[in-house]
Symmetry: C2
Subunit: 203 residues, 2 copies
Amino acid sequence: MGIASRKEREKAEMRRLILGAAHDIFKENGYDGLNIRSIAERIEYSPATIYLYYKDKNELFFALQYEAAAAKRDHLLPAASIEDPWQRLVEFGRLYVDFGLKHPDWYDLLFLTRAPMEHIENQDCWTLGMATHSFYVETVEACVAARYFKSTDSATIAYTLWCHAHGLVSLFVRERMRMYPPEERGELARKSFAMIVKMAESL
Amino acid sequence: MGIASRKEREKAEMRRLILGAAHDIFKENGYDGLNIRSIAERIEYSPATIYLYYKDKNELFFALQYEAAAAKRDHLLPAASIEDPWQRLVEFGRLYVDFGLKHPDWYDLLFLTRAPMEHIENQDCWTLGMATHSFYVETVEACVAARYFKSTDSATIAYTLWCHAHGLVSLFVRERMRMYPPEERGELARKSFAMIVKMAESL
DNA sequence: TGGAATTACTAAACGACGTTCAGTAACTTT
DNA sequence: AAAGTTACTGAACGTCGTTTAGTAATTCCA
């Protein structure tokens, strides 16, 4: 089956080539600056060719979102090896915020972009994101099991802490912090993270 | 000055007519479904006419954002009359979340839309939003002054609580809660709000 | 091996969008 | 009544995602 498998390989390579170009353009100009024609130009094919490998721009969006989810997972990975669940949870949160502030475009793509959310459950990016999320929830559950909190409602605890971290990053990413001088924003984020950690200790 | 003032009045009326149509279309189809041609069609003018009253779509966006900011202020208003600063703060937060969940489009416009954020400080919508925000911060400061918290860092407290509320609403508005069954989401939001209130009591 | 079938690709177009501009008709001024 | 100003529009431009009809190259099968 030489030919068939070579064809398949070439197809995968082409998808990879397209996605790579999309990735580069995205990093340079953000998702708004990413369009089919610019991808085509960069890989020196016609725009119509893109559609032979990706159904539409949404499919490309999902593929790109997978990359973002992988980058996020890799960023959070160091926390996974921390034994103590509370220490792990804190470091997890710190790295989550750190990722969002360092890679606003990727965070945007993952959580802030208005995207075709129908059927996203079937997408790889969702599966990967859910794996990371599950690990987070399990860490909170481990804290509860080890009696780090008085409360035992691990689901609400996990959600509440996530809301804070997500809100913090979102306000940065979408530039809704103009009432604070730019040079104070980073410090404020750090203080707020420290505060929510303190608050969580009293849960 | 009869003619000049009539002209001015007519100009203002026309701006109002355009904005009204934009408002309606926005409520029906969201910001994505709002375009110049649909506004023009609704008010029975040519698309080019719109540009005689609004410089570009961004200016219309700001005008619409002002409406959203006004709606938000009105929604939060009942909290303002509560005497006790802590009670006022809690009700303020509850109404904030309530507004976001009831009017996701408006919340989106205010806090989630990637918009021309340069020079927004000069826009009316920003001024109005800042007034509401200041009232919120002052309420936190009043809590601090009345020793409702051990911490005296009112700026960080205000910011931290805002992060939670904003994160909570944002996850709803941008549909990033698909891992929770739809019927549980409202309950989770309520529980999380109750939890952050409890946590704040220990600050 | 040669003709048929399939594949890989593209030029050109479609329709929707924001926006601009030249031109026209109505109104205002003198 | 002529000149100047204002309000408005049809038609176009350039951008976008996407589709279609066609062409050249490759693969299949007799």
